[in-house]
Amino acid sequence: MAEPRRFELAISPHVISNLDTRRIMYDVAVALLPALAAAVWFFGPRALLLVVASVAAAVLSEYLSLKFMKRPVSFVLDGSAVVTGILLAFNLPPGVPVWLPVVGSAFAIVVGKQAFGGLGHNIVNPALLGRAFLMASFPVLMTAGWTAPVNRDGDGTYSDTHGIPVVELAGVPGADAISGATPLNVLKQSFDLDSGAGAVELEGDRAGADEMRLKAASMRRALYGAGTLKNLLIGKRGGCLGETSIVMLFLGGIYLVLRKVLELRLPLSYLGTVALLGWVFGGGGWFDGNPLFHVLSGGVVLGGIFMVSDMVTTPVTPRGRIIFGLGAGLITMIIRRWGGYPEGCSYSILLMNLTTPLINRLTRPKFFGEVKKNG
């Protein structure tokens, strides 16, 4: 005889939403597909191979860790490992060997996620942790694997990994010296030239210093040129696999907003801060940077749409989300302008991930009727 159905009491809220982990994760994965298509278009089928290897390694290590820890193996189907795998591959240069994303994904899942207790307990974004791990372990592979996008329009508008088309490049004296780098690398080179010019001037070589400054300024002018910005927008430049095609990333972002998975506060405050600070100190001097260039180059759009908005590792309160975006934007721009790396997006998000519990506590909403402690 079947047990009589018990009368069940549940605490509020009583609204049932169909927004569960699996739906969210597969929505995110779908939203990443346009950028994947762009990566395959610009960097060839190898890009797909890297992504597939990364996802396979992520899912397999998720399965093995769950098995080892005797937790329900069905968690592997919630899609979070798939998203981590795609995001990790998106953060790698296209020229890396296939084993690199495999090692990175395994580390991201085992150490970054499962060691902390699985989805919802990880303190930092696993994909970014995997990237930081690879960056510390294989610095040469991670900074030299840039490949130029496939040249599909003949030689006339061919652009190298830095994405600056020939027309714009003509204005830079000795332009050969800036090949084999990403746009942000070129920006960093121009900053280095500027500080080098100061040293040369101290030695008394006024003319040499002026020449270096002129070259730095012309490099920046080429980067800010309309042709370069257009290339950056469609993704025709060197860079990490999934970060280059801004249009496709925004397409995915719009899909996520329509599906109510992406809340706009985080991306907007992050990208807004990057743009504002890009104008304030992102150029050679003060208030002469190009905000558009700073948003389009590097990985801030990928980070801003898909990683700043990771639900586990970012604040839950509305005010907290804005603070998070401001902080991450500030750190990104400080690293870009004065740091050792050309791009600071991933480290900025990792650092802000660590402050998330503090931000949550700081911005905890007041209960109705609650009185300030020493008010």
Partner: protein
């Protein structure tokens, strides 16, 4: 307690690193290679044995109000000895261990055993305890250093183990600071699993 029990106490049951979590600073810092780990372990073990011996010998003479300064003076004496001997006969090792040799003075294991064991046990037991703790500390260092050196440079005791291809492209993070913490976490996890199994069998 019997001598044998005092001796084996530090190796597994109360392993200073894995169970007491003492002396983490040199443990994480110098385990980049097995050679460094052995050197550090030997130095710490020597100081541990000597200080435990002397503290136990003088335990009824040292007024308890000033016992910590007295321990520090005793330990510092032996550390200075080790420092000078190492500098004279093993200059290479001395250079790679650097500041961590003088820092043995404030090593928690040595101070902890002086305060927690030698202070209230007879000389022979104290020496046995020091030997056990020293072996346990060295063993723990060698275990972590083995993983770090193998992964981080593909060698073990400077012998190429994993081949030239690996040595050209090693997992650099293993010999950096984060690698030490990550690997320590894993080793502690394995140690706890072993402990649980042993407890379950009883």
């Amino acid at each position: 307690m019997s001598l044998a029990k005092d001796l084996t106490n530090g190796i597994f049951r109360e392993n200073p690193i894995f169970k007491l979590a003492l002396g983490m600073c040199p443990f994480l810092a110098v385990t980049t290679s097995v050679e460094n780990a052995l050197g550090m372990g030997a130095a710490a073990t020597f100081v541990l044995i000597c200080s435990n011996f002397l503290v136990s010998l003088l335990r009824n003479l040292i007024p308890s109000k000033v016992r910590i300064p007295c321990y520090i003076v005793i330990i510092a004496t032996f550390v200075t000895l080790v420092d000078m001997v190492m500098n004279a006969y093993l200059p290479e090792l001395h250079r790679s261990l650097g500041i961590f040799i003088p820092l043995i003075v404030v090593n928690c294991i040595i101070l902890g055993r002086a305060e927690g064991f030698a202070n209230r046990h007879p000389v022979l037991n104290s020496v046995a305890d020091a030997v056990g703790m020293g072996i346990g500390f060295t063993l723990a260092m060698v275990i972590l250093a083995t993983f770090r050196e193998l992964l981080g440079s593909g060698t073990w005791l400077n012998m190429n183990v994993l081949g030239r291809n690996y040595a050209n492209q090693p997992l650099l993070i293993a010999i950096l600071a984060p690698g030490a913490f990550i690997l320590l976490g894993f080793i502690l996890g394995v140690f706890n699993i072993l402990e649980k199994r042993r407890g379950g069998a009883k």
